[in-house]
């Protein structure tokens, strides 16, 4: 095995670990701000995995939209609120047990599915060099094939805009 490939595999484990650790950090930290930062870490780990999967544009968008815009929004809202009381709050024992139970069972089920999923044993190969870049491909698809969903999403965003205005405008009268 070439060293580059070993390196790539190693990177997979590193980024996966970052993502998983970040995700765990989100749920174990009492402070929402810390949680938010952990989430950013998880998103960055995810973005790295995307890039490893040769989805450069997606990875970058992931960092920009999630790690950037969305998380800023979250932090902004957290800051708006008084989070002092959050610190004192304890986890409910039942809730923890319930969460553990459900997610462990889910992971076990997933493992069994994956164990059975033969196509999943494909090894991550190298893409042919002559393939067009993903930006070009995605852009082309988006605006030649997917123009209908794009327009629908436009309406969706319109709804969201109106909704946010209606819900948060201080004085409507």
């Amino acid at each position: 095995m070439e060293q580059a490939e070993v390196m790539l595999d190693l990177l997979f484990y590193i980024f996966s670990a970052i993502a998983v650790a970040g995700a765990l950090g989100v749920i174990v930290n009492k402070n929402p701000v810390t949680s938010a930062f952990c989430l950013i870490a998880a998103f960055i780990g995810l973005a790295a995995l995307f890039i490893q999967l040769d989805a450069y544009l997606v990875g970058i968008i992931q960092i920009l939209v999630y790690g950037g815009a969305v998380m800023v929004l979250f932090l902004f809202i957290i800051m708006l609120m008084d989070m002092a009381s959050e610190e004192r709050r304890r986890f409910g024992l039942g809730a923890v047990a319930a969460g553990l139970l459900v997610s462990v069972v889910f992971v076990v089920q997933l493992l069994r599915v994956l164990g059975d999923y033969s196509p999943g044993s494909k090894v991550l190969g190298v893409l042919p060099a002559d393939a067009a870049t993903d930006v070009e491909q995605i852009g082309k698809l988006m605006f030649t094939q997917y123009y209908f969903p794009v327009q629908v999403v436009g309406v969706l965003l319109l709804i969201a805009t109106i909704g946010v205005i209606v819900l948060s405008k201080r004085e409507l009268k």
Binding site: M1, E5, L8, D9, F12, S16, V20, A23, V26, I27, P32, A42, F43, L46, L49, F50, L53, D54, A55, L57, V58, I61, Q62, V65, Y66, A69, L73, F74, I77, I78, L80, M81, E86, R89, F91, G92, A95, G99, V102, S103, V107, L110, P119, G120, S121, K122, V123, L124, L127, P128, A132, D134, Q137, Q145, V153, L156, G163, V164, L167, S168
Partner: protein
């Protein structure tokens, strides 16, 4: 160990499960919301992994999935916006973000 599709799928599923656990465990509605976003992203990882491994005839990844992913991210962002607006409104009305405090309707 060589990295296979299943590796990515497992990480994706694990993140999804962690997100799910977070939704169930946490009481702060904002953190819950974060966990939901995490779940979405985790699902995205599966999508990208499948895209990368379901090679098209030309040998490249199936970019349809990546296009889909753009829509998912867009929708998720919109959802975050609306969701946070609702949470803020709730906070204004009830001065709390604890989901166990919002249970005026039951049975």
């Amino acid at each position: 160990m060589e990295v296979t599709l299943n590796h990515f799928l497992f990480v994706s599923g694990l993140l999804f499960a962690i997100g799910l656990a977070g939704v169930l465990v946490r009481r702060n509605v904002i953190v819950i919301f974060m966990c939901l976003e995490l779940m979405l992203s985790a699902a995205n990882l599966s999508l990208v992994a499948f895209s990368r491994f379901n090679l098209t005839e030309s040998g490249g990844p199936d970019y349809n999935a990546q296009v889909f992913l753009f829509f998912i991210i867009t929708v998720a962002a919109a959802e975050v916006a609306v969701g946070l607006a609702i949470i803020v409104a709730l906070y204004r009305a009830k001065q709390t973000t604890d989901v166990t405090q919002i249970n005026s309707m039951k049975n």
